[in-house]
């Protein structure tokens, strides 16, 4: 099968253009959404708009502007992005403590 056209400069230029368009769309969406602006007062006790995922009420699924929901690990002092899995590792606990202890 002749696939030489795939590697022609014309095809590669079109693919580069497509990459530019997708990157531009991603960047514009990021700048418009401002996903960093979330409710920082959120804790394991106060979490409006979130769904509790575990029995202890420490793993929450909360909305992030423009990107859908994501999981957070919370204590009664604050929340951080949850690492994958619905269990809490000692490293995560340690990190959360370090972040809010001092």
């Amino acid at each position: 099968m002749r696939l030489h056209w795939l590697f022609s400069l014309k095809t590669l230029s079109i693919m580069l253009l497509l990459c530019f368009l997708l990157t531009a769309e991603e960047t514009i969406h990021l700048l418009r959404s401002r996903p960093n602006e979330i409710d920082w007062s959120r804790t394991s006790n106060h979490h409006p708009g979130c769904t509790v995922l575990d029995a202890a009420g420490r793993i929450l699924r909360c909305p992030v502007r423009g990107y859908g929901d994501m999981n957070f690990l919370c204590s009664d002092e604050g929340c951080v992005a949850k690492q994958p899995g619905l269990y809490i590792t000692p490293a995560e606990n340690q990190f959360l403590k370090m972040l809010f202890s001092k």
Partner: protein, 418 residues
């Protein structure tokens, strides 16, 4: 036009100053692979976003609230207290060698550090893209083809975008290592030693590049590089405090926090392409505490690298040595996040030069290298299992394959300085 009919090999035999050439076959494969993988990655996240799948599906790189420019931003309170006792007593640890305070303070002493730093990162990316374009042009590549390749490599660079988003200090290491490797490649050994010395002072692991001098009996350059490392470290310590010994012990304590909090933890494993990350990945279902393994792993890696260096790397051509040492520098630390992969761009520029000098019938030698590079340097945002990203583990496997390939197959005809 069929690849085999390009004017590449003919023009090469005439020399770079003759009629401009197009991209060689292996370079077209490389460009196709990086563009295709990036389109798939970005397209995947776009569709996931439209369908409301949420994170981590809907963002091509690492996303966590407060993560943008976090690696630079987190030092703001500390550096506002630079030169005062308050600098040493802060919430977050400063897990860098003392010399890293120098470039950071240079930015924090400006009126607008949060503009100056991102602009610096953007300018560095633009600078290296233009340099790569000029290197290709000097090899006699047609302007349109050179621009296509340079822009293609720049726009698909996942490690660079990740670095930009995090605002990580790896940018300083990248600049020093890249300039060092390029200087070495061009035969400016003293400048290379200065750059490697600087990079080592900033992040320890680039000391591995001193291994390029030994087989060429460039002992004076090694001494120069070590002198630069020590001198810049002392300047960094002196900038921290007039009591150099106190600053040194404080920094050692801060560096230990890296081992305590990061080295053994599976934190952001999907973005950690270190070989030790593969161990973490395999043991993840049992989530054990790997802290006792870190020290034996470091020793084992040190011994293995020494054996590899004197047993094999020493005898290989320069291009292989540069590639192998670059791969080792970003994969042997117990934790190595994906932005460190920017250090692989200098070896790829050398591979591109080689690709432009090889005749058509030998292009296939380079294709496996370029394919592995394509998998390493593009987002791979679609590699998700059970809501967890594992793109970095694919990268680690590709880095291992690249390492084995470079160790086993000497690259043909050592390219001379451009």
């Amino acid at each position: 036009m069929p690849i085999s009919q390009t004017n590449h090999s003919t023009a090469l035999s005439q020399g770079p100053s003759e009629a401009p050439v197009s991209l060689s076959r292996s370079l077209r494969w490389f460009l196709f692979a990086i563009l295709a993988l990036t389109v798939i990655s970005l397209g995947y996240t776009l569709i996931a976003r439209w369908l409301g799948y949420g994170l981590p599906y809907s963002f091509p790189e690492l996303f966590a609230p407060r993560s943008f420019f976090a690696d630079f931003f987190e030092f703001r309170v500390r550096f506002y207290d630079f030169g005062k006792p308050g600098f040493f007593v802060q919430n977050r640890d400063f897990m860098y060698p003392p010399a890293m305070v120098l470039p950071l303070e240079a930015f924090y002493s400006t009126a607008h550090p949060f503009w100056a730093f991102p602009l610096f990162v953007l300018a560095s990316g633009a600078f290296f893209t233009v340099c790569f374009f000029r290197v290709l042009r000097k090899q006699g590549v047609r302007a349109s083809a050179a621009a296509l390749l340079a822009l293609g490599v720049a726009i698909t660079s996942y490690p660079y975008v990740f670095l930009l988003q995090r605002g990580n200090t790896e940018i300083f290491v990248w600049i020093a290592v890249t300039l060092g490797l390029w200087s070495f490649y061009r035969g400016h050994y003293a400048w290379a030693a200065v750059c490697f010395g600087l990079a080592t002072a900033l992040k320890l692991y680039p000391f591995i590049f001193f291994g390029l001098f030994l087989p060429r009996r460039r002992y004076r350059e090694i001494v120069l590089g070590v002198f630069v490392t020590v001198a810049v470290t002392i300047i960094g310590l002196r900038a921290l405090s007039p009591h150099i010994a106190y600053a040194f012990h404080w920094d050692m304590g801060q560096l230990q926090a890296f081992g305590k909090y990061y080295a053994a933890s599976p934190w952001d494993l999907g973005y950690d392409h270190s070989f030790f990350g593969l161990v973490k990945f395999v043991t993840l279902p049992w989530h054990p505490d790997l802290t006792p393994l870190v020290r034996p792993y470091t020793r084992l890696i040190a011994v293995s690298c020494l054996a590899l260096y004197f047993g094999r790397i020493w005898k290989l051509p320069l291009a292989n040595q540069i590639l192998i040492l670059s791969v080792l520098s970003v994969s042997i630390p117990p934790v190595s996040y994906d932005y460190t992969l920017v250090s692989l761009y200098a070896p790829i520029a050398i591979l591109c030069i080689l690709a432009l000098r090889l005749p058509d019938d030998k292009q296939r030698i380079l294709i496996p290298y370029f394919m592995l590079y394509a998998a390493i340097l593009t987002p791979q945002s679609y590699i998700i299992f059970h809501d967890a990203r594992f793109g970095a583990q694919l990268r680690a496997i590709c880095l291992l394959a690249l390492l084995i390939l470079a160790l086993r197959k000497p690259l043909p005809a050592q390219p001379t300085c451009p």
